[in-house]
Subunit: 497 residues, 2 copies
């Protein structure tokens, strides 16, 4: 046994690290298209691109991740050789705050910026939950006006429309932390430091309304809750009356944003912060209505967002269509974007409050949603025309043929592997090639090429029953060499039609 | 003192980590355009996109970085909580080898793939030398034919052309490690393990021909070389005769690729590997000539590439125009892309040799080159039309105006900051806005808007001498509200013309 082990060469394992994955072909192209379309909308709204590096100092990143089950706060971090701790960014907002603090004299104020790229979370991976994923953010930094929040909500709606998602399939829900803070004040959980932990528990309890329902949230507001696996989550220890007021707030949503705001006014009457928050929501609702977004973006008190750093309006975009998940359950897909106002992130660095608000679209989640719904069928994925080199000594001829096709705007390649005709056709098949081009010695002598319509062939194969029929099918033609481009074009047009 | 220190709040520093930087606005857009154009060429050649994660296991990454001055081999690495060492990729080739080993049953063979993204090097940063930068790679894995190498060289030439770089400004130089190995055999530095270190020194010495010249390389082939700072680099300790043969090889380049190959044949006469390498170069030269690339891609024995893992053809793209560098020196910009054949990278994982060849374009270096040459003037960077909200209570009106502009395809935004007209115009200026739109109470009452042609204003400001002239300039017009779009369009057209 020990001897065997010794003989075996020590080879590295060819595996992605736990919680990471590779994206191939169409997966990469689809995401690129999605990012480009979203960024185009951001850009059209006057936002400017920013690309910060993936690596930040850990002190600049700060500790803002909620519900983290890891000792080092969910960040991949290491010590640089000058002793400084570096880490991979876990979102695009923390780097933005650092950039604004560092470059504020050179930036326009307000600064509208968009950013796109991977972020990393040192969390426990799970099904569909990876430790690297894309975000696509837009933020307005430097203005307290809620016109900025309203603008971001409208822009987000436009971005979803640019992705081809129907208006009825997505809704943006807007709330205001100030209103929630008003309710907290009213039940004796005001701004004081001692209640901070309890406020945090309340916040995260409400954030789980979708998943846990009314009773689940009430349990978390009270003594606590045991989940299916038996794990117990400690609750906020509120009295039934306190919990009632919180739940009254959470369920204050009405038919229209105006009616919801009116109801919220009643609930926050006694506090200082609450009425201000309601007024902000009213202004946002008016601005949305003035631009005709009132059915796409609504005031909804059940939205709170889990992050601690929000200080004003918060918002969330939800896909409303139903999908069947891995467990066969039909459910609404839920949130694919979220954000809000955070007035203190830059202050961490400079000591001066800099009001800011922004959205983050979870691109990978959105792609998964559209796949689950069958909205992305991969049909954009036209494989290349493949030239099968029958005679290896004439590689220059095949490359010339290939260059002709490319110059005509047709994606094309010469098969460069080994093997007989069957193996070459199998390769073309794996490449999803629409057409294979063959020029053997006979064809060459007669100034001809043979074209196999692989797209048609695949369709016929599904319909044809006997080998005779198969051989008789018209999916292969021999044409004069000079007609190569025209005939391939005709086949491609047929494949698309 | 201690008291003062105590008073000061502990704030994080708003700085990018050493060797990292932020990219703003046009810098991001330019790179995106460049990457898109290169990838379009790769795609058109039948290559498929692949995106692996930034994080790999350290054992999968391997140790292939040359000349590394850091203890952990130039990689940013840390220990995952299951004890596995993880690290950031330092190039896109090592991850490709891992992907091919991991997914080989599912991939077409040969597998043509392209990849684009940042890579990280834990190296000493310097001027223009960052620890994160972009690469844009294309590789063909699974075929030994040098037709694949020739194809990559032609595709690289096409990519540079797609970027608008003139044919006379870029040259691709091609060599073959087998020829160099042949020369090494001839001078007694054959395949034996004992000579491996010496062969490495010879390789890296030749790689520095550009920078150190003939004498510098000869010093490194001999006893060694002391640089300007006094640091001594140990040499290969070759005899003068041995060094002569190496230098004879390095300077074997002739007017045409055919003449160069003929000269190389003479030099490697005695060895086994050498003649095979020359034959491969001849085939590549023939394929290049058949497609008309002979003046854009040439055989050049002075190219070796620093990396140890190349096993056959190596190639390098060089910008031939001159630039003035930071020190005021006029020099050729040099290499912006490089690659070659590496037949053993997948074998590390699987034990089976998988022939592969590929190019990596250093996108950030290329951008720097085009900037240095003044080829990127940032003129694409049209700022948004900025609407100045004279009356904050009519935000909805201004947003409506803004939406009209956007719906007409015009990039536009409402200024959301505070301050008077002067401050608002200063903002518009910072945004490089071509037009500012003003609708105060007077204009509103008369159904008009005022448009300031800021592009024209900027031009006039450069020419006008007196304040009177300035006030008389026609860069501001008041037009009916209904003509907003048409008049802004006219101004934009003027700004572009």
């Amino acid at each position: 046994m020990a001897k065997d082990k010794k003989k075996k060469p020590q080879r590295p394992k060819a595996v992605t690290p736990r919680g990471f994955r590779d994206y191939f072909g169409e997966e990469v192209a689809e995401r690129r298209v999605m990012l480009d379309r979203i960024c185009e909308v951001y850009h059209h709204y006057g936002f400017d691109p920013l690309e910060s590096s993936a690596v930040e100092t850990v002190e600049a990143l700060g500790k803002f991740l909620p519900d983290v089950d890891r000792p080092n706060d969910g960040i991949f971090a290491w010590q640089d050789d000058d002793e400084a701790w570096l880490g991979l960014r876990y979102d695009l907002t923390a780097p933005l705050a650092r950039v604004v603090a560092q470059h504020r004299m050179d930036l326009p104020n307000p600064y509208r910026r968009y950013a796109v790229g991977p972020v990393w979370r040192n969390e426990k991976p799970g099904p569909g939950r990876f430790r690297q994923f894309y975000q696509c953010d837009a933020d307005t930094v430097g203005t307290p006006t809620v016109a900025a929040d309203a603008e971001i909500c409208m822009m987000t709606a436009d971005a979803f429309e640019a992705l081809g998602i129907a208006r009825e399939d997505v809704i943006i829900r807007i709330n205001n932390r100030k209103v929630l803070n008003g309710v907290m004040e009213a039940i004796g959980l005001g701004d004081q430091e001692a209640a901070a932990a309890t406020r945090g528990i309340v916040l995260r309890a409400i954030d789980k309304l979708d998943r846990l329902g009314d009773d689940g949230v009430r349990a978390l507001l009270g003594a606590g809750r045991k989940d299916e696996s038996g794990d117990f989550t400690k609750g906020a220890e509120l009295s039934v009356e306190q919990a009632d007021q919180i739940m009254g707030f959470v369920t204050a949503g009405r038919e229209t944003s105006a009616a919801t705001c009116a109801r919220l006014s009643e609930l926050v009457g006694g506090s200082d912060t609450g009425p201000e928050g309601v007024r902000e929501l009213e202004t946002i609702a008016e601005l949305l209505e003035a631009q005709g977004y009132q059915s796409r973006a609504i005031i909804d008190p059940s939205v709170v967002r889990g992050l601690d750093y929000y200080t004003g309006p918060v918002y969330e975009a939800e896909l409303t269509f139903e999908i069947t998940d891995e467990d066969g359950q039909v459910r609404q897909f839920g949130s694919v974007a979220g954000g809000g106002r955070y007035d203190d992130l830059v202050k961490r660095f400079t000591g001066q409050a800099v009001p800011a608000t922004g959205i983050s679209i979870g691109v990978d989640r959105l792609l998964a949603a559209l796949h689950a719904k069958g909205r992305l069928d991969g049909s954009r994925a036209a494989g290349p025309v493949v030239i099968l080199p029958m005679d290896r000594d004439r590689m220059a001829d095949y490359q010339t043929m290939c260059a002709e096709l490319r110059n005509a705007g047709i994606r094309a390649e010469v098969f460069l592997g080994g093997g007989n005709m069957a193996k070459q056709l199998k390769y073309a098949d794996k490449r999803a090639a629409p057409v294979a081009v063959i020029e053997g010695a006979d064809e060459k002598a007669q100034g001809q090429v043979t074209l196999k319509d692989l797209a048609l062939g695949a369709r016929l194969a599904a319909e044809i029953e006997t080998h005779e029929e198969w051989k008789a099918q018209p999916a292969q033609i021999t044409v004069p060499r000079g007609e190569l481009i025209a005939q391939v074009r005709a086949m491609l047009a047929r494949a698309e039609g």
